[in-house]
């Protein structure tokens, strides 16, 4: 009887334990800036996907009767030097900017995370070699190296993404390596080794999942930098090629018509600013939410 009472008492009933990701999500939800950033990012992704449906005009259709028209009911954001609708080009430009941000960071991760894992887990000569290579890459300033790579590869959005991805790679190598070195000495990794798991399995199944939270923060912040880098390369003519729209190339042509058509410069710049701000806000929020000190 006593045992039955004890078992059914509230103190002994196992409470559902939150998973770490659910706890992090709860903490993230409390950060207004991060939630604002997340909403903006979701909206931008939706805009990029549904650009054909929501765009009021064709982004590349020229109209010589509507050259550099100020914002009006027909053209909410005005028109450019070739009579193209600025709003339509902003909406379609979201595709170039977001895909450049996401794909280039994907490239940086695909190259950087495995190298960081190998360096951190193997140590010794391999670590020294990868680390010196990382130092060398980091010694070349980000934008200058990206410009040089894009220039040598040839001007196109695809090459700009490769250039940005390769240039952003060392940050991921260094971050992963540092995290792996800390995690590799944990008892659960030792236990996994003791029961005979091969090194690749330990690295992928036991170490990598614990590196992911820090990587997630870095991914978000690097996407913000990659969006600016893509806009910079397109501004210099090394990214998206005309007539396809890109916020950076729109700013380039806007510069020549600043006196007569300032709206051509306002909207693309504002779009870059808002998207970069959204990723930075989300990155800052994630960093706080995933920080063990804040638990």
């Amino acid at each position: 009887m006593m045992a039955g009472v004890a078992l059914s008492s509230p103190a002994t009933v196992a409470e559902p334990v939150d998973s770490p990701s659910r706890r992090a999500w709860r903490r993230l939800k409390k950060r207004r800036g991060a939630m604002f950033g997340l909403i903006v990012i979701v909206a931008l992704i939706a805009l990029a996907i549904c650009a054909d449906l929501v765009s009021p005009h064709d982004p590349i259709k020229q109209s010589y009767s509507a050259v550099r028209k100020a914002p009006s009911l027909q053209h909410w954001f005005g028109t450019d030097e070739l009579g193209r609708d600025v709003l339509a080009r902003i909406i379609f430009g979201t595709r170039a900017s977001l895909s450049a941000g996401i794909i280039s960071v994907g490239i940086a991760m695909l190259l950087g995370v495995p190298l960081g894992l190998i360096a951190g887990y193997c140590g010794g000569f391999i670590d020294a070699l990868i680390s010196r290579f990382t130092d060398a890459m980091l010694a070349c300033p980000f934008l200058i190296l990206a410009i040089a790579l894009a220039a040598f590869l040839g001007p196109s959005l695809g090459n700009a993404m490769i250039a940005i991805g390769v240039t952003a790679m060392p940050v991921f190598i260094r971050l992963t390596r540092g995290q792996v070195m800390g995690i590799a000495v944990e008892t659960y990794v030792e236990a996994a080794r003791a029961i005979g798991n091969p090194p690749w399995r330990i690295a992928v199944r036991h170490i990598l999942p614990n590196v992911l939270p820090q990587l997630l923060v870095q991914i978000t912040l690097t996407i913000a930098s990659a969006i600016i880098a893509e806009a910079s390369l397109s501004f210099l003519g090394l990214g998206q090629q005309p007539p396809a729209p890109s916020w950076g190339s729109m700013l380039n042509s806007a510069q020549r018509f600043l006196t007569n058509a300032p709206w051509m410069a306002v909207w693309p710049g504002l779009s870059i600013f808002i998207s970069v701000l959204a990723f930075n806000l989300l990155g800052d929020g994630l960093r706080d939410a995933l920080d063990p000190k804040n638990r």
């Binding site: 010694a139 300033p141 040839g154 003519g237 600043l258 300032p262 710049g269 930075n280």
Partner: protein, 313 residues
């Protein structure tokens, strides 16, 4: 301390070697025959043969690299295809312009960034703190080329207060030089100010909670003296080293800023070279920027060691 510096210098050797390999490899990214692409519009076989001989493109790749490194050691970075001028000479002409702009930008970034960081930490949780944090977020999220265009529109086109472009040497006319550089320097320093603000705030918050600050307050010292003399002196040590590293970032940022404000500096040199497919110049500029960046890193390390008595011992 000497041992630590010697170790740091030794570590630089493989880094410099790998940097040189990366930069040398750039020309091999060119699709097809580099000599043909470097010749651009020029299709004269003699010119192409000359390029091939000049860059030793007919030699094995290891020899090509060794010739290139040998040239770099004696300051020979090749010749600009477009300007028909030695690249080292071009860099020597343009680098001082960019360094002047970057120095001015750094002063602006330090004054705004450190000032706001200190204010934000001292007034933590108030409207000042929120405003300073917003400023930092604005700084790191604003593309500097857009800020430059908007500032030209406001201060040059609308108000007519400042020139929209150009560069005046301070040795020619100091006031005109300041007038011409203040806008580009602010544009360039804006994002660094945001980064510095965040770091200063963090370092100051840590310093303000430390025992020595509590002791200073317990002794009855005035708050401004506690903040400026005790907390700030210790909090600023890592900020100075960070400033040295960010100076390298300014060289990157100068590329677009100089393009927008038509400043004949290092950044404009690389953009013009890229647009005119003057690849040897691009390679030279990346090399010199990386060298400056490595030296700044080393100076930051030395500064950190000098400022930290525990490392000096």
């Amino acid at each position: 301390m000497i041992g630590l510096l010697a170790r740091r210098l030794l570590q630089l050797i493989p880094t410099i070697f790998l940097v040189s390999v990366i930069i040398f490899s750039l020309q091999h990214l060119l699709p097809g025959d580099p000599a043909l692409i470097m010749a651009g519009e020029e299709k004269d076989p003699e010119v192409i043969a000359q390029i091939r001989a000049q860059y030793h493109l007919d030699q094995p790749i290891v020899l090509q690299y060794l010739y290139w490194v040998k040239g770099v050691f004696v300051g020979d970075l090749g010749e600009s295809m477009r300007l028909k001028q030695p690249i080292s000479e071009l860099i020597a002409q343009k680098l001082p312009v960019t360094l002047q702009l970057a120095s001015m930008a750094m002063v602006i970034a330090l004054v705004i960034g450190v000032g706001m960081g200190v204010l934000s930490a001292v007034k933590k949780g108030t409207g000042w703190d929120a405003a300073a944090n917003l400023f930092a977020l604005w700084g790191i999220s604003t593309p500097n080329f857009w800020l430059g265009i908007m500032m030209i529109f406001l201060f040059s086109v609308q108000l007519g207060w400042l020139p929209a472009s150009g560069f005046v040497s301070p040795f020619e006319n100091l006031s005109q030089s300041l007038k011409a550089s203040i806008m580009p320097a602010f544009v360039l320093g804006n994002s660094i100010a945001g980064v510095l603000m965040r770091h200063t705030r963090g370092a100051m918050l840590q310093a303000l909670q430390s025992d020595y600050v509590r002791t200073a307050r317990a002794k009855g010292l005035h708050e401004p003296r506690v903040v400026l003399h005790h907390a700030m002196r210790n909090a600023l040590t890592p900020i100075i080293t960070l400033g040295a590293l960010e100076f390298g970032t300014l060289l990157s940022g100068a590329v677009l800023t100089e393009q927008i404000f038509s400043i004949p500096g290092f950044g404009k040199l690389i953009v013009d070279a890229v647009l005119n497919r003057d690849y040897a110049v691009v390679q030279g500029v990346v090399l010199v920027t990386s060298a400056v960046y490595i030296v700044l890193n080393l100076l930051a390390d030395i500064g950190y060691i000098l400022a930290n008595p525990r490392l000096r011992a």
